[in-house]
Chain length 360, copies 2
């Protein structure tokens, strides 16, 4: 493998294992598996899912839906409907089964007069994350939206969709389960109130922490995890995965060694990793260094981490001995703090056997 610039490497084996594990979990709980593709954003990696039987996906923008509509026929855009993109909505709705998220009456009124083809919609419900979504006990608003939707033959109600993004504040499996169970309770109550009128409605949830560790999916019909395909340091800190399951690493050329302050400068900055960080023992961490192995990477190297990032520079905090074992022109392998953002920042991905995986 020839590394000359910051390169995001994908361990295909680990990645496929992550997919299989989550797929089996969905099957064992009789859940529809609709993985979120915003993490990898790659048609090629999409094919790995397809080969294993996935036929429904989630994305986070209409732009991403357009990209994946080349090969996927059933796509949910898990982002509040942006009425300014009505042209794209109509084009996609003509081509594929398009499912959108609605959380206000204005959007449904707009769709009613502007839609040219059939679409499905989820009502986006706030299940505790408080980023967006309808308050789950606001039956008045829910009923108004549903009533408005019924007036159009092109708008079909699918069910309730929630995202328990607050599980990211957890630091162990117990905390994840606590938040997950609280979210499920909200969703079950909603379902109970509306299932009579809409007997086919489904409940869709599924952040990566919950889907990775929970064993209770009572009342849930569909899961939409995304990050699990690669995992990252944040998921590891939360308690979602083992570090050995992280399936991406950034290879970064060493360009300067500073023995005096025990730092290495690599080519690999905020425009490659993104500026997402985590805090550990009061230290900001932008990545951690793993051992290079013949066919990929191994364990974390204790105490060696990315302490700061500027546009193109990454500053590695390390030891004198670590510096002595490296030279200008070597490269380090670094696990990202947030794989979704690092993938988005990069133009493509490279497998360990040198296959270039194009992405959006």
């Amino acid at each position: 493998m020839q590394i000359s610039q910051p390169t995001l490497l994908v361990d295909e084996k680990k990645c496929k294992e992550n997919i299989c594990r989550m797929l089996k979990k969905a099957e064992s709980h009789k859940l529809i598996f609709r993985p979120h593709f915003k993490t990898h954003q790659s048609l090629e990696i999409g094919k790995w899912f397809k080969e294993l039987g996935t036929n429904k996906i989630t994305v986070s923008s209409l732009k991403m839906a357009e990209y994946f509509s080349e090969q996927w026929e059933d796509i949910t855009v898990a982002f509040p409907l942006n009425i300014l993109e009505i042209n794209t909505i109509n084009e996609l709705a003509k081509k594929i089964t398009l499912n959108v998220c609605i959380e206000n009456i204005e959007s449904i009124q707009f769709l009613k007069k502007s839609l040219k083809h059939k679409i499905n919609f989820f009502l986006k419900v706030d299940i505790g994350y408080h980023r967006t979504g309808i308050n789950a006990i606001n039956d008045n608003l829910i009923n108004s939206i549903l009533k408005e939707a019924e007036k159009s033959p092109l708008i079909n109600f699918l069910g309730f969709l929630g995202h328990a993004g607050h599980t990211y504040k957890s630091r162990n499996k117990k905390e994840i389960n606590k938040e997950h169970n609280r979210s499920l309770k909200i969703m079950r109550n909603l379902k109970k109130r509306f299932i009579k009128k809409f007997p086919k409605l489904i409940v869709s949830v599924g952040d990566t922490p919950s889907c990775s560790v929970a064993e209770n999916f009572l009342g849930v019909d569909e899961i939409r995890p995304g990050n699990f395909v690669f995992y990252d340091l944040t998921q590891n800190m939360i308690g979602s995965n083992n570090i050995s399951q992280v399936a991406v690493a950034m290879a970064c050329p060493i360009v300067a060694l500073h023995k005096d302050r025990q730092e290495i400068v690599v080519y690999g900055g905020g425009i490659h990793f993104s500026k997402d960080k985590m805090v550990e023992k009061n230290r900001d961490i932008y990545g951690k260094i793993v051992k290079r192995k013949k066919n990929g990477w191994g364990d974390l190297i204790p105490g060696i981490y990315v302490k700061s990032l500027s546009q193109e520079h990454g500053i590695i905090s390390c030891t004198k001995s670590f510096i002595e074992h490296h030279k200008i022109g070597d490269y380090l392998m670094i696990l990202p703090v947030h794989s979704c953002m690092a993938v988005d920042a990069m133009q493509n991905l490279l497998t360990l056997d040198g296959k270039l995986l194009s992405k959006l």
Copy 2:
């Protein structure tokens, strides 16, 4: 202007005024003006500089040098030499005047045996930022590198280059000047020690804060500011500019209104703004909202700011009255915290009269 997705708008007039102001400053101090193009990364904006007389530029990667080598013949790569990119170095050195940064003996030894065409180099000196560069009093290392360089007819020493990135910790003009003057002193001392042997050597400095506010450039031959072309909220906080000089704003569609918690959700997240933030009165700020005007934008709207970003969502903290004056399908104009990173995250830029400016 039709906005349907997050769109980075450039106020061409403000941008050209920023360029003119800095150009005049360089002229009045008899400094070589070598602006850093990592901020805009656009051949079209490069033309605005060229029309005003600029003929030398700075970039932060060889990739960027390749892109700009289409129209520029004298390019400095202000990043420690990455020997793994020797092929690109040779291709560029054949085509243009390529100036690289050296800070260790290994890189110069590598160049000595691998170069096919003439290049110039700066010695990268640490002038207080402590990100990278040679300790400015390490004459032994400097002499060893220069001695090694002399052995090759293809390697030409240009002078000393420093970046006072620590001025970004300033919060007013006085603090900026203090750090700037400290950096200049280091550079003047260096120059004094080496000018006899290298009478043509130059000193190159020039972060945006220093170049914006300083009036003392004693001993400096060249400046390389970059961010000033657009400025941003960070520069404003530092004291480099007036808010009215910020020449970029992100237009973001409103997709949800939450009156209960006085928040608006826009389409515009970490993949558009980057995750760079600033802290003001103990609050994280990822952007600030400005008044929309017929031909661009006006003043900041007090107290209305981006409080968090996820991949595609931006959460605006605002007031009930602000929400009452907006609806789904409107868009907000948001000044970025760090324009270099926001520009890098976007695929192109749009002028206020609708010209699309392509970029790297």
